[in-house]
Amino acid sequence: MSANELPVTGGPAAEPLHTSIHGDGPGGQDHGGEGVWARAWRTLRKNPVAIIGAVIVAVFVLVAVLAPVLAPYGGSELPGRTEVRPTMIPGPSAEYPLGLDRYGGDVLSKLIWGAQASLLIGVLSTLFGLTGGLLLGLLAGWFGKSVDFAIMRLVDLMLSVPSLLLAVSIAAIAGQSSMAVIVAIGVVQIPIFARLLRGSMLAQKGQDYVLAASALGLTRRSVTMSHVLPNSVGPVIVQATLSLATAVIEAAALSFLGLGGGEPSTAEWGRMLTAAQQELAVAPRLAILPGICIAVTALGFTLVGESLREALDPRNRTRR
């Protein structure tokens, strides 16, 4: 696989990382004592796909953080309210570079504030899913046997409902708020993380270095926490990066289904896209702009995640 094409992985996602995070592995002799992460970092720096992804993510994060400085108007301001007619929505002008929307909001400002909303939803929901999944996966991987069985059946149950429907039903309980959306998207990710971490930990448990650590008399806790877990998190981190992309898309989908609360004029990409549906023939830019923002952001996270997966994959090590 050459460096300039996308990584396409066909094998099991939870390929274990054979080298210890602290020590050196058989593949790392040429960079003596180098750990998995240092090696991954070196591979990533040379991968143009990873760099493109990282730049997209960096721009997105910067825009989100600097929204108060960058946006000409506030997220809920409707500066052009008097200029919008039922039959006419003003297009781009000197005052409003990307034009106005149906409610008289400045599209540019709303896109900028929307970046903040999307980043917040993406990061918080992924953290939620990650924490829940790690907790369940850790419990299952640590105790094994009946605990493992019970947790995995719960995970199966959650995976038996298509993800969007699961998110919708959780959002219905959690009420109409952006917090509900975060929880809904987060919960949907829990089974994915749990299964991934458990599989990864199981693969590590049989490794010689774990047996050696146990033989040396280390307690189960210290073997799990300082040996098994650090070596099992690689696939989880890759998944978390990819989850950020999914979260942005799913948040938009929930908005589209009328969940998430707030005014229809809220500065959030999914909401803007939904509201634009009625004006598709009059002002297609109202749908296209937020749609592109969602797609590009998701692309950024996907490229970073996939490159990271490739860089961490031990099967790619020898072909460097």
Binding site: G10, V161, A287, L299
Partner: protein
């Protein structure tokens, strides 16, 4: 083979029991509880008390759950608040539409995805390989309903090549013995009705099929890349097997194993995507009805449809597992 099927069907029982417990609890966790959920906007304290007595909500939870389960087993999934009709009936009348849409989406995804992934792997680094990468990226980064918007805007609104909404033109007079509109047209020899229904399926089918297309193309590419370098392929080539036979019997057949699993896994994605795609195209399948029930807080429909969709999802995965055994003789021997 039969044993495998029976085994898998038996495994479905605990899954569905677990799901029914979750959904039973779900209605009780809704803001306002089950009575509010049942009555929706018609909520008054008197009506609430009446419903509570009627449904036995004053009884202990296990008894309530037992009754719920008994009703489910009798095919009673509750009544829709929007239409007042039984949930199961709503599901059955609309399901053919979604099946038609899913089939078109899958045909699109498989018909393009497998050849694209295959050629991409065989000609690694070529233009086709690069375009396969681009397609698989678009598939995973563009929201389904945004793609649906764009397709509708370009090909239906601007160019007018396809109808914008619905399953069949309003002016079309047709009989529907099966509710599969395309099939109905063919059965009753109303060719124009069948054609019209098919045209209504194209854009939503493409929108819905794009993500699976991306995933299938990607999976095929990965699988073929791996298989074509396998030792047995090299041996077969060295023995002088004709390239066509090498491709079809040695490479493609072995590479299809993971692809078939992937296709099976797409069904959940398609059912999720159908909720969004059907809504954009006002296509009256189970997806748009479910989306509507979300808008109108029609909880009995959500509860029933989620359970029914999970059953469909599980059955499809069962079929995939069985077909896996048919393709892979190693699995057949184990059973």
């Amino acid at each position: 083979m039969l044993r495998l099927i029976v085994q898998r069907l038996l495994l479905l029982i605990p899954l569905l029991l677990g799901l029914s417990i979750l959904l039973f609890g779900w209605v009780r966790a809704l803001p306002g509880g089950p009575v509010q959920a049942m009555l929706g906007e018609r909520y008054t304290p008197e009506a609430a008390a009446e419903i509570e007595a009627e449904m036995g909500l004053d009884q202990p939870l296990p008894v309530q759950y037992g009754k719920y389960l008994l009703r489910l087993l009798q095919g009673d999934f509750g009544t829709s608040l929007q239409s007042g009709r039984p949930v199961l009936e709503e599901f059955i009348t609309r399901f053919p539409a979604t099946i038609e849409l899913t089939v078109v989406a899958l045909v699109f995804a498989i018909g393009i995805g497998i050849p694209l992934g295959y050629v991409a792997a065989r000609r690694s680094g070529s233009i086709i390989d690069h375009s396969a990468v681009v397609v698989s990226l678009i598939g995973v980064t563009v929201p389904v309903f945004f793609l649906a918007f764009i397709l509708k805007y370009i090909f239906a609104v601007e160019l007018g090549w396809f109808p914008t909404t619905g399953r069949q033109s309003a002016t079309m007079i047709a009989t529907h013995p099966t509710n599969f509109y395309v099939l109905d047209g063919l059965l009753t020899a109303e060719w124009d009705a069948a054609w019209d229904a098919l045209m209504h399926l194209i854009l939503p089918g493409i929108a819905l099929g794009t993500i699976p297309l991306a995933i299938v193309a990607r999976m095929t590419r990965a699988a073929v890349s791996e298989v074509q370098n396998a030792d047995y392929v090299r041996t077969a080539r060295a023995k002088g097997i004709k390239p066509a036979r090498l491709r079809s019997e040695h490479i493609l057949k072995n590479a299809m194993l993971p692809v078939v699993t992937t296709i099976g896994l797409q069904v959940g994605l398609l059912l999720s995507g159908a909720v969004l795609t059907e809504t954009v195209f006002a296509f009256s399948g189970i997806g748009s009805f479910l989306a509507n029930s979300v808008f109108r807080a029609d909880y009995p429909v959500m509860q029933g449809f989620i359970l029914l969709i999970a059953v469909v999802y599980a059955l499809v995965n069962l079929i995939v597992d069985v077909s896996y055994g048919l393709i892979d003789p190693r699995l057949r021997r184990q059973q």
